[in-house]
Symmetry: C2
Subunit: 328 residues, 2 copies
């Protein structure tokens, strides 16, 4: 099938760039040094390529991502890097021989893990991002509570999400170190093999974590594209120009085709004015019927809008993959 | 079923407020004075309530919305208020006795309508929003071209999307009038019964259009909530607090649960700091396990993220509806 026979908006992955990105990361962080985060793509076919590149474990953000990965045969070592207050669905996975390790950061989430049938946890430590994670000085006593509740504590995690997007590499490295010093102090109290952290923006400078939770590197987006990382934009939304005048054109991909929290999508040779529900307005104008490829501002919430993604090479559609980890 | 037994994030509609909003609009714009826009909710069960309130026709933004409405038995008078360059899927609907009228604004889209088997069109006129629609002075010749291509021209449409969100009611009314003067001038050249325009922000002041394409009024959002309209916020995302510290709490609904182009969701008694993929951080802190209800900034791209929505009254889930018009 040819790309121009696809209805639009169509989510496309450039096959060569995806292959390049996966290989480049596997060279930098081979095997279990990388625990790819599936929240970035929500697609088990893509996760399969990451597994074949040598990464045995995966990071998930939702219970449904864990369930979908297990169903796809990719459940040998899943980390749900998120807190939950009802762990029964995860317990069912564990009972079915999927290895799922759950992040906990409070007595309540430890209680939920034990009650739900989860067996392994990491202590989630706040390393500076105002989000989940206990204070570093609480990590040791939470680990003790977890162990006394019958849970095995595999180590710590702490996501430096306030650092991964900093544009100055020196500042990024310096603040990453400050975050990881907090995490290592907590790890000294907690014990266990895992120090899980990091993302695409800090995969190279975060040399303290035992494993990096990067996800965006495989497909990239406009926001990460600004950081000068050695990964190439591999994800695009292809749209059709449906209306044109002397000043602008309008193509058929809008707010329901792009995650918008990092701003507008971008396209080579075009200035994007704004998006509305099913439209993007841009200049200079093109002919009605022309196609335009746009790079999303933020990959994760973009993938979550689409039912499927097409792997393409030049004009050809090689494969079509369901985005099967959507929802909750 | 009780609301607190639902997994989160859960999309909720307050049944009483929905009923109120639909009744209030049906009083103001009875029967075919309103052509409800289904892009706002993408849910045929909700469209059914609008049909029962007396509105015979609907506005759609995508081919899939037309197909889904036809499959649900709601295809007696659909307007696809959008340009397309391949009308074959619509032609198949028309051949199957669904009445679909298509917006056209160029020779190319007229050609596509005729070639695809569409029989009825409206001329889409640009009334000030930099998006689709021909220049008002081109409308007459495009209508002639459409008729000579064998199409029936039902009239004009022109969406004053640059006006519907203006916070000052006097400015909104004044600029609505200026837009509608352009549309009426085009209509004088085009002919036909329909002058289709408007949205939730201009439903009351737009007295020139023969029918108003409002959609958001049924469920509302934070952005429209600022306009002092007589409609009540009926849509919420319920989330569970999964992590808490002395300064903030984190609940499990984020960038994949909310359309973000109009900014953060809001919650009574809480200050939302920011959203990340699966989280919203806010203060003042609450207990882990507590529920919080958030009103989305923008309804349309919020609905498009969710597979289903729960109709609730107090603590009870009355019905669960699929959001069946998602995708393209």
């Amino acid at each position: 099938m040819k790309v121009d026979a696809l209805g639009t908006p169509a989510l496309l992955i450039d096959a060569d760039r995806l292959e390049y990105n996966i290989a480049e990361m596997a060279k930098a962080l081979p095997g279990d040094r990388l625990r790819p985060h599936v929240k970035a793509h929500k697609c088990t076919e893509l996760a399969n390529l990451q597994a074949r590149a040598g990464h045995p474990g995966f990071t998930c953000a939702t219970i449904r991502e864990c369930e979908g990965m297990a169903a796809a045969g990719l459940g040998s070592d899943l980390l749900l890097a998120n807190e939950i207050v009802d762990a029964r669905r995860l317990g069912a996975l564990v009972a079915g021989r999927t290895r799922v390790t759950l992040a906990v950061d409070s007595p309540r989430t430890i209680e939920a893990a034990a009650a739900g049938g989860v067996r392994e946890v990491v202590i989630d430590v706040n390393v500076g991002l105002p989000r989940c994670g206990c204070a570093p000085e609480e990590a040791g006593s939470l680990a003790e509570l977890a162990r006394s509740s019958g849970l095995s504590v595999r180590g710590v995690m702490g996501y430096e999400g306030h650092v991964v997007g900093l544009e100055d590499p020196a500042e990024r490295a310096e603040r990453c170190q400050a975050s990881m010093e907090l995490l290592l102090a907590a790890h000294a109290e907690v014990g266990g093999d895992l120090v899980s952290a990091g993302g695409t923006g800090t995969y190279a400078c975060n040399t303290w974590a035992t494993e990096i939770q990067a996800g965006s590197y495989a497909l990239m987006d406009v926001a990460y594209g600004r950081l000068g990382l050695p990964f190439r934009q591999a994800l695009f939304v292809e749209a059709t120009v449906v209306s044109s005048c002397a000043q602008w054109s309008v193509a058929d991909a809008g707010l329901k085709a792009f995650g918008m929290d990092h701003g507008n999508p971008e396209a080579e040779g075009a200035n994007v004015w704004y998006c509305s529900d099913e439209h993007v307005t841009f200049d200079p104008p093109r002919n009605v019927g022309d196609r335009i490829r746009l790079a999303p501002g933020h990959i994760d919430p973009t993938m979550a809008y689409h039912e499927r993604v097409h792997l393409v090479s030049g004009d050809n559609v090689l494969e079509t993959w369901p985005i099967d980890l959507r929802g909750w």
